[in-house]
């Protein structure tokens, strides 16, 4: 159909100008809702970041028998360094173990008394790539000759995994609910704006305008509103993050410092917000105008 570019653009912008209040309402709704969504998403990224650091710090120790042979030691060492799930392996020899032992029990001389470096087992400190790998790695070595025992904090790891999963789920749910309510709010605002112009649509239908001819200026209008609203939300989220960063960087709480997200993550979220704003605006308008096209 002869849908002239000139007509469409002129119609879109004159409509935006003609209904400044409705335009503002739509833009603000998009901005506020998407700011909340963006905030939730960044919070989620912060939590992921922090838990990654905690989980990355989880390790297990493989203690060798003090009398394990050189060959047995080498076998364990080689196997560990060939495992793809292992990020880092450190060998702690008897002297280092002893130093650590003395430090841990420094205010308990009764325990340290009479114990020498030769009594303590050397060990491999293994840092897996993911907390989930701790158990499978550990169980491989339990029966290996020369290994005295494998130590890992199974309960702690399980709890950690469970807690992070719950936190992530909660934030995902929150962002999802916010996104849905934002969409509904935007839809409602657009529908109000279109309701105010149902006469015009009626006349257009009457004189034989095609549905796409009627729909496209509305969709463009929604798109512009969505992009502007998404842009405002992106700006708010970026400013909010900068503000928090400035005030929390020096925080004594390690947990909070670990949660600070990088500039790249913020930029990604900002782009996501603008794209979602555009999509919700355009598709919302198309859905909202549908009702009035049905003649």
């Amino acid at each position: 159909m002869a849908l002239s570019f000139d007509y469409t653009v002129r119609e879109t912008f004159s409509n935006l100008r003609r209904n400044p209040l409705m335009t503002m309402a739509a833009v603000l709704t998009v901005a506020v809702s998407l700011s909340l969504v963006g905030g939730a998403l960044l919070l989620k990224q912060g939590v992921t970041r922090a838990t990654l650091q905690w989980r990355g710090g989880v390790e297990l120790s493989i203690f060798m028998k003090p009398d394990a042979s050189e060959a047995q030691n080498t076998a364990v060492q080689t196997e560990l360094s060939n495992l793809p799930q292992v990020r880092k392996v450190t060998y702690v020899n008897q002297d280092e173990s002893f130093a650590e032992f003395q430090q841990v029990f420094s205010n308990d001389p009764a325990t340290t008394e009479g114990i020498t470096a030769a009594d303590l087992p050397p060990s491999y400190r293994v840092v897996p790539k993911k907390a989930e790998f701790v158990e499978p790695i550990g169980s491989r070595f339990e029966e290996t000759p020369g290994v005295y025992s494998v130590a890992y904090a199974k309960d702690t790891i399980d709890t950690l995994l469970k807690v992070t999963r719950i936190i992530q789920l909660a934030i995902y749910t929150m962002a999802g609910v916010l996104l849905i309510s934002a969409t509904l709010l935007i839809l409602n605002t657009i529908q109000l704006a279109i309701f105010a112009r149902r006469r015009e649509i009626g006349v257009m239908k009457l004189v034989g305008a095609t549905n796409w001819f009627i729909r496209i200026p509305f969709m463009l209008e929604g798109l512009v509103q969505g992009v502007v609203g998404g842009g405002v939300a992106a700006l708010l989220v970026t400013l909010g993050r900068t503000f928090l960063q400035r005030n929390l960087e020096s925080s004594s709480l390690q947990l909070i410092r670990q949660m600070l997200v990088s500039g790249r993550e913020v930029a990604g979220t900002a782009i996501f917000l603008v794209v979602v704003g555009a999509a919700v605006g355009a598709i919302g308008s198309a859905v909202a105008v549908r009702r009035f096209l049905d003649v």
Partner: protein, 228 residues
């Protein structure tokens, strides 16, 4: 031009708007649809523009069976039909010229065509002086003339008018009727639903009388009241 073949239409409230209605209107005719309120006149017009589908029966407009027409072709059907209503249905935030031009814009007519056609049609309806006024600044009769101009600017084959003089005083009514008559003389088929006894009796055109959705009279050169 317009043919209804045993058409029945009822609404959810179980009232029958048209019952087994057969009418054949030839090209270039001027037809009055008369009958009391609720006799089915408006339904008749809405079926012709495919704003509603019939329950039963076939409807032909300009040689096409519109019952089998795809919904995407409906806009093309409506470009052949101009519509005028009792309440004018003008856009209050557009000027007279813009209201008329709008009808051409939305069907994708190029600018130079619009800018040459609109003054011609405004001249035809006698509103050249008011081209830059808004509908709110015009009298009822002037507004209706704008509506007629908008309906006719596309030179449709058919002009449907639903009580176009219902809100107008007798003198103004006469002006509108002269305009419709003039349009009819260009070969456009005009179908007008009305209550106005005076118009029908003066014009002496074909009269189709509906009562409770049934055609009770179809008379060439008829009058409003019962045959006589």
């Amino acid at each position: 031009m317009i043919k209804l073949d045993r058409v029945t239409k009822s609404y959810k409230t179980s009232t029958v708007a048209l019952r087994d209605c057969s009418v054949d209107i030839a090209k270039g005719e001027f037809v009055f649809l008369v009958g009391p309120s609720g006799s089915g006149k408006s339904t008749f017009l809405r079926l012709v523009t495919k704003e509603e589908p019939p329950d039963n029966g076939d409807i032909w407009v300009a040689g096409r069976n519109i019952g089998q027409m795809h919904s995407w072709k409906v806009p093309l059907l409506r470009r052949n039909i101009g519509c005028v209503f009792q309440d004018f249905r003008l856009l209050p935030n557009k000027t007279v010229a813009e209201n008329v031009a709008f009808a051409l814009q939305v069907i994708g007519r190029p600018k130079h065509v619009i800018s040459s056609t609109v003054p011609q049609i405004l001249d035809l309806v006698g509103l050249t002086q008011k081209a830059q006024n808004f509908p709110g600044e015009l009298s009822g009769g002037e507004q209706q003339r704008v509506a007629v101009a908008r309906a006719f600017v596309n030179r449709p084959l058919i002009l449907l008018a639903d009580e176009p003089t219902g809100n107008l005083d007798p003198t103004t009514t006469e002006g509108i009727m002269r305009l419709l008559d003039r349009i009819n003389r260009t070969g456009t088929t005009v179908v007008m639903a009305t209550h106005d006894v005076g118009i029908v009796d003066t014009m002496r055109r074909r009269v189709i009388e509906l009562d409770h959705g049934v055609v009770i009279r179809d008379q060439a050169r008829g009058v409003y009241g019962a045959a006589g």
